[in-house]
Symmetry: C2
Subunit: 206 residues, 2 copies
Amino acid sequence: MSPRAYRLGRRTAAAQRTRARVLRAARDLLTARAGAEPFSVDAVARRAGVARMTLYHQFGSRRGLLEALFDSFADGGELPARLAAAFQRPDPLDSLADIVAAFARFWDAGRPWIRRVRALGVLDPELGKAVEARNARRREVVRVLVERLGTRYGRPAPDEQAQAAELLYTLTSFETFDTLAGPGRKLPDVAGQVLRLARAAVGRHD
Amino acid sequence: MSPRAYRLGRRTAAAQRTRARVLRAARDLLTARAGAEPFSVDAVARRAGVARMTLYHQFGSRRGLLEALFDSFADGGELPARLAAAFQRPDPLDSLADIVAAFARFWDAGRPWIRRVRALGVLDPELGKAVEARNARRREVVRVLVERLGTRYGRPAPDEQAQAAELLYTLTSFETFDTLAGPGRKLPDVAGQVLRLARAAVGRHD
DNA sequence: CGTTAACTGTACATACTGTCTACCTAAATA
DNA sequence: TATTTAGGTAGACAGTATGTACAGTTAACG
């Protein structure tokens, strides 16, 4: 697909490396114990072992850093592959189960710091837009799924489909997972509970 | 030195009045369009028409102000009365419906600023404790309800009851309501959707 | 070798929190 | 009436944060 850029040069390579190091430091800092340490540009820079100016040079601003962090996580993970695999299932109810499980894994992997980035997104409207853009993808995923369910199991009224999509969107949200998981629930248990509700949301109970 | 007995009459009345004015200003500021204006102690003071020092004098700190704001909302509303009324219903399934409706109303009334206070609670662990304390009440509400449902409709295994309580806790959370309501859904519609899931959560489908 | 760009160091303007001190004023009390 | 008390105010201050400006260093690149 994309031709491998074999002439990219050591300069950009090094730049990408520091970029990655900074993002990792930012993630670690956000993950750190109970939010005791405030998330400041300076703290991230110190943790990454670079100058504060490097951050502004590379990300433009604190917000830019957070957006880049959010993007790196969303793109870097294996969520897209898992979602694609879920849609391969012949029975859309199986797809639903896989999708719920995929999001549960996804949220669980970055729980402590995703929670904070989202909180920052609520407080900073600009950052909030970036978060919302990611949510739009999930919204599309559930919309397509509901469509398939309608085709397979009999199509309900359009507004009922829309309602089902809204419910699935909410059930697969980070907030639902985070609240339900609480301080120490096991991942499969939580995913199972969400799936039960999700089946109810589309009118297919156990 | 014998501290003179100083019974407070009109003074506390006046103090309560400024207190209320400040809290109102804080609420309005948090509600203000899209969070454009940052929530600073100074901004609240200006909006309330008092000196910044008055806020520190009255609430101790920015966090104290936010906690007071949160408390004033929780205590001042009609939620407790509605919950009490809900528990009067003979059929616990009717109680469930009323409880869901009560929380939906409650969250809807302060949606724009509750969202921000909760975000601030995520970022500030101390403030988060205050928020969590309020959630503990709701947790107790759903626990008692699940207990009643078990008595009335046949008691499931203890861990199933615990799971049902967790689900109801999540479904009645602000985050669920806020996500589901989106930008422009009608309150009764959202409450109805949540109720459907809540009934599924306790094993009572339509 | 000269150019370019990542990276750095320092200084600076701005804004916010929180503390301190002194002060004014009106209510409450002796 | 005289005095105490507490709510509210004003200004200065320290500490920390973001973000900008600018000059400097270093190493890859043509």
